[in-house]
Symmetry: C2
Subunit: 350 residues, 2 copies
């Protein structure tokens, strides 16, 4: 187990990111903490272990269960297991489990310890770092949550070897987003050059990919840990479009697919406004397409009103106006409102 990254977050808290050399190496690390732990799994992630620890809860899988009932189930179960404030909540699973366990841990006696073990690519590069915990609420994605950085994030990329292709592409959406947000073109180049090794899930290629992606995220987080300065919200590139799509479709679209689609929309918007060149837009959309994303998808005319309503629930509002993250180039995001007609031209089938 090797510490590869340390990220300073709010109030002097920091998250350490460890990469393990094998699944056994990962488990050995968690055994160091003895019995004062409480594990949170979902049905899928629980299958990755031969035997489950005693103090645990196994929740049903899926975004639909990212709700207040599951949150209560975690807290109640932790309480029954005798958890105290110094107990370590260990989330083992994808983003839904990580977000919910982090929220439960942040609320439990006003904050227990927290370790995240992401088992999907999306959660490795997205849900782990930055301390965003959440559940969905009344149609609002991640509407209820806290900022609560994990003490440790443990990454074991072999958990990705059995990940369905669809799930893997989900995570790649966020990785590509990080490539656009990086001021260096290194990650973009890595993605163009290593597509085969990535899709074959080559262990060391994936480790590099995850680490590079987290390094980009770290840059934005440390400048704006509580999302109060407008810097951290740049990490939402593509997400206003994506969340509206997810919300409108009743969450049937996977987050990563929605993000990739949203990235496409944000790049087209940036290009349409002359912020980036046509060639930047073309190569960016082509990278997304090469990884299998349907960036050319458009919603139906009859869905526009629902899409607009969903978009207006976006958290990046100030004085009632929704702001979109656009790009002026690699690592040059900016925040601005867009006219409804312009958004419609980018999202609705003609």
């Amino acid at each position: 187990m090797e510490k590869r990254l340390s990220v300073n977050l709010q109030g002097g808290r920091h998250s350490d990111v460890y990469f393990s050399s094998s699944f056994d190496d990962l488990l050995k690390k968690t055994e160091e903490w003895g019995d004062n732990v409480f594990w949170v799994f979902d049905e899928n992630s629980a299958k990755l272990l031969f035997s489950l620890p005693e103090k645990r809860i196994v929740l049903e899988s899926g975004e639909i269960h990212k709700n207040i009932s599951s949150l209560e189930a975690i807290i109640s179960s932790a309480l029954e297991s005798g958890a105290a404030r110094d107990t370590r909540f260990i989330a083992f699973g994808g983003g839904v489990i990580l977000d919910m366990c982090a929220l439960a841990s942040s609320l439990y006696m006003r904050g227990a310890r927290l370790t995240l073990i992401p088992t999907t690519l999306l959660s490795m590069v997205d849900a782990t770092l930055g301390g965003k915990s959440a559940i969905d609420y009344k149609g609002g994605k991640n509407l209820v949550g806290t900022f609560y950085p994990a003490d440790e994030i443990l990454i074991e990329v072999s958990t990705l070897s059995t990940l369905p292709d669809k799930e893997f592409r989900c995570g790649m959406g966020e990785v590509i987003k990080h490539a656009f947000l990086s001021s260096s073109t290194e990650l973009f180049g890595f993605l163009e050059a290593n597509k085969d090794a990535i899709e074959k899930r080559d262990r060391s290629t994936l480790e590099t990919l995850v680490l590079m992606s987290l390094e980009v995220k770290k840059e934005f987080l440390e400048k704006d840990p509580l999302e109060t300065k407008g810097i951290r919200s740049f990490l939402n590139l593509g997400h206003t479009f994506a969340h509206a799509l997810e919300s409108m479709e009743g969450y049937s679209v996977s987050h990563g697919e929605a993000v990739a689609w949203g990235l496409g929309r944000a790049i087209e918007a940036s290009s349409g406004l002359g912020l980036v060149s046509q060639s930047f837009s073309t190569s960016s959309l082509n990278l997304l397409r090469s990884y299998g994303y349907d960036v050319d998808y458009r919603i139906g005319k009859d869905q526009w009103e629902a899409f607009l309503q969903a978009m207006r629930k976006d958290k990046k509002k100030s004085n009632g106006v929704v702001n979109f993250v656009l790009l002026k180039g690699f690592g040059e995001p900016l925040l601005m409102p867009l006219e409804d007609d312009f958004v419609s031209s980018l999202t609705v089938s003609p």
Copy 2:
């Protein structure tokens, strides 16, 4: 409206405490924020206003409603009112309302703005400063909560003029606690010298009382905003006993009465262990008695097991052992475990 105190808390956040010169002065301050607000009242506090603001929720009064249903009601109602992340949640009421509104505000889109307007003495000196938000959960008092400092705390002591005596004595319990925790004997002396003016609710006497009390609290908070260093937990002097009593009695005992009783127990424990002199103990207990507290109350023998179980749920546990805050003298708290037999000798009727 005058800013009288500013307290630095975690992550560079700070709470400003304002004292208003009249009820009108208070309302004028809140009008500055325009329409981007969401008010939280309970049935009692709502009566203090001639007309209620449009964007509001009025919850039922009482600790029994400090639960997850009320929390959900606040969040849902805020959502319906169109609240965004930059909306200011304004809590107007006693500790229950303040704690719940603070929790809702901390969770809403991962943190909306927060103003606390305490209308009881207890909430002025206890629930406002320090960022502790909470609801009760499954018999555990304040088991679910966050650290989330209010942006502003507005104090208008005329709200105390109609406060029932019982409620007023509740708040005095915490004030007296602060007198014990202050390294100066100024507050203790003020309480001995101004009992009549305090009980007559003289406006300027109460302002001094509240301000002095908050100044003591500020000292502990700034040294340990997240209660990680053991310093802030000194503010729980008397509370391990108090919470167990409250929990055991199904919350029928008021918080302040329970705290005063707990203070008595903590002082007797300190005296029993030779940490403070007999005369310190006598004058301290006499001050509590002079303000009408039943510090000589003892639980029945048949209640001991329930009391012990309730005490073991205390949050100030490390490695499974409950720690009590005791005193070595004014402003000299310390944290230590106590034997069950010793606790029983202090709490159970012989």
